[in-house]
Symmetry: C2
Subunit: 446 residues, 2 copies
């Protein structure tokens, strides 16, 4: 191809609307967080699974289709099959459970951290391609499983180094008992959807909608009274008593909540949990506890971790009843929030701990030898691969946020020493052995 033809045929390098690249400065912390979470989930005996990105559209949407339809990427493949990109990790998990029942032992605890796709209109902090981090316990319906999910949520936020978070709990069963007591259980789906919008559209709008749904202003006001707390600091068990009363007295759901709260207390983590009856989660399939998580210093970001108990997850694919409880961290939204909060978690994207500068190409095998030695001592080490002016090499180190540089001349190598330079403080220490340099770097960085 002539240069001219080439120039003409250049394609503009761009990504689709709502999609994005992750440069190292963002991908390094993202990977660090997913690794920490994976390791943490494993410490609870949760196991990873993987499912295809592409599935039969019918399997993902059910035979009906409906609202979600417009939001998903679906098409006919070369074999004329109607296929779609998964829009969450829950539906593929339900299909997975039904398909592999005989190979799995219940209770089954799995986690899955991966991308999902939705064709909705991109907004700030919302993308068409985003990463979810799901963890579920399937095959058991009790307070112990509910507690374990909540407990792991709490420790996950600690492991990620996130502070100032609050888990807001409610109980779908208790809410339904209340609606039943009020005589409006049949409208529960519409009521749930309306209540779910409280944070977005405010009390007045919700009240108006509820009155339309229940044909009664009084009932609308009762529902609003149930879902709002006059005193945000009201103790957990006080709120619970009040809600039980509104629902017509104590029953199994109240008991479950009490037991869960008792476990949280015993584990010493109750302080991060409030009972917040405005949390309902729009989705029909929840039957027990439901929860959302807010960053107290950034409430406008919305919930960064949500979920609840469902008692028949895989009913689309199997007649076996598979109760479960699970949670999903919206990793991209959480990352965006942490960036906004200038959290140190998203600010440590150095490509390596130290770069060995290239001042004499003939010494390259020695640079490589020193690098190997430092790596074996647990450091991330670059060798600058070209003999260039030092200024250019320092600039490269700066762009990559590398904190240390090593220089060594033929003479120094002869004497088995090197010079270490702290690229932040500009401090230089000469005549170090490799081991001394490693110790010094580790002392400063870790």
């Amino acid at each position: 191809m002539s240069d001219e033809t080439k120039a003409r045929s250049i394609i503009e390098p761009k990504v689709l609307k709502g999609f994005r690249d992750f440069l190292p400065a963002m991908e390094i912390p993202k990977k660090a967080i997913t690794n920490k979470l994976s390791e943490h989930f494993s410490s609870y005996g949760f196991v990873p699974i993987d499912t295809p990105v592409l599935e039969y559209t019918e399997v993902l949407l059910g035979k009906g289709g409906g609202e979600t339809d417009k939001q998903i990427f679906h098409f006919k493949d070369n074999g004329e099959r109607d296929v779609a990109l998964r829009f969450d990790l829950t539906v593929p998990f339900a299909r997975f459970l039904a398909q592999h029942q005989s190979e799995l032992a219940l209770p089954f605890k799995r986690y899955h951290i991966d991308k999902v796709w939705r064709g909705e209109n991109p907004q700030k902090g919302r993308y068409r391609e985003f990463t979810q981090c799901d963890f579920d316990i399937v095959g058991v319906d009790n307070a112990e499983a509910d507690f374990e999910i909540l407990s792991m949520m709490d420790s996950s936020f600690k492991v990620m180094g996130v502070q100032d978070y609050q888990f807001c709990l409610a109980h779908r069963g208790l809410f339904n008992a209340f609606l039943s007591h009020l005589g409006v259980l049949e409208q529960s789906v519409e009521i749930l959807r309306s209540v779910d919008k409280l944070r977005k559209i405010g009390e007045k709008e919700v009240l108006a909608t509820l009155a339309q749904i229940t044909f009664s202003e009084e009932k609308a006001r009762s529902i609003l009274a149930y879902i709002t707390k006059d005193n945000p600091a009201e103790p957990f068990l006080t709120t619970l008593s009040r809600l039980s009363e509104l629902a017509g007295g104590e029953e199994e759901h109240t008991q479950r909540m009490k037991t869960i709260y008792g476990y949280l207390k015993r584990a010493g983590i109750a302080e991060h949990f409030t009972l917040d009856p405005s949390i309902t989660r729009g989705l029909d399939y929840y039957t027990g506890i439901v929860y959302e998580t807010f960053l107290t210093s950034l409430p406008s970001f919305g919930s960064v971790c949500s979920g609840g108990r469902y008692n028949d997850l895989a009913s689309l694919y199997t007649k076996e009843r598979l109760p479960g409880v699970g949670s999903s961290i919206g990793l991209d939204r959480l990352l965006a929030a942490l960036e906004e909060l200038k959290s140190p978690i998203v600010g440590t994207a150095r490509s390596s701990d130290v770069v060995i500068l290239n001042t004499d190409a003939a010494l390259f095998p020695d640079y490589d030898r020193i690098a190997r030695s430092l790596r074996s001592q647990g450091l991330k080490v670059d060798v600058y691969l070209v003999q260039k002016k030092l200024a250019a090499q320092y600039k490269w180190a700066e762009t990559n946020a590398i904190p240390f540089a090593i220089l060594c001349t033929a003479e120094e190598l002869e004497g088995q020493t090197l010079t270490l330079k702290n690229l932040t403080s500009r401090e230089t220490i000469a005549s170090l052995t490799i081991e001394e340099a490693a110790l010094h770097i580790k002392k400063e960085l870790f």
Copy 2:
């Protein structure tokens, strides 16, 4: 929904042809390997990036389209854009480089481990969805960069615990010099494609094709002589001299190969590298070293890690010349090979190190407390979440390959002790403290 309606509307849980689920037994080792590789690449200063799964078809295929066309999943999205699932990680990387040039400092060393999709017909060990693991150095064309990729390939295999691998190197530039000397350089693309099939179709077929391409049986025999080694154990530099001679004498490519080999020697890793002129890699864009990797005990699996030097990767998207060298590990094929070899790497899929058995639901908060303590000591710990018959709990532990169980009665808890059971040997040790139990488990497992 009535049970009857439900029964009728059940959807068969299945995945698309050429796609598959990863159950924990396979996903645990896969994650372990990708984590090890990521950490290892990082120790060389390679940084992770991420790109969208979905891109403009034109961006992925170029304006021409062509052969790949039929192999990719592409469709019109809701905005009538022609979009496609990426079929490798190289093309998106080229686009990424062109798009973010100003934000990156060269040399740029990146790795990317993720899925790609091809619509080709599935065969044994070949899937429509598979994971690639790519690592490249861009922005520098010298022996040092070539060496660093080869060196990292070697250490990657060591890190993965793979033994018996052999890297087969060749040099595209040297081969072209030979073809030029023979007067058939113009047919190089067809010749490369034909030679690339040597392992598959054998010498006789290749000879016939080469004769057709070059219109000369003599030239075909010369090419065959160049690409075959009579003595497979021929020393690297002897083969290099012979090839240089056939190409009309020493030139820059011979020099480059000598320098690379010198570095491999100095680093003490030369034994895993052979010069194998039959390696050509079918793809046009290679210009320097090329390589494939074979498991010596499973050569039939083909190459599990391949790549080479290209000197103009992003020319589709930018006028700037971006030379590079890179490599790609076919992770799924490698995993399949390791499974076939019964490697211990793919045989360690236990969900946790120890399960605390549930013999008295009232003691659950204590089980949870013991579990937390053991986790903080670095162990993976399950609490069995339901009070069931012990036989059922043991069976569950067995299915999940959990090696240890902890039992404790109210009495033991009073005395701050517990009983540890090795589920393989059936050995039981009573009256241990939590710390003693942790030490015992660690001693056995790590």
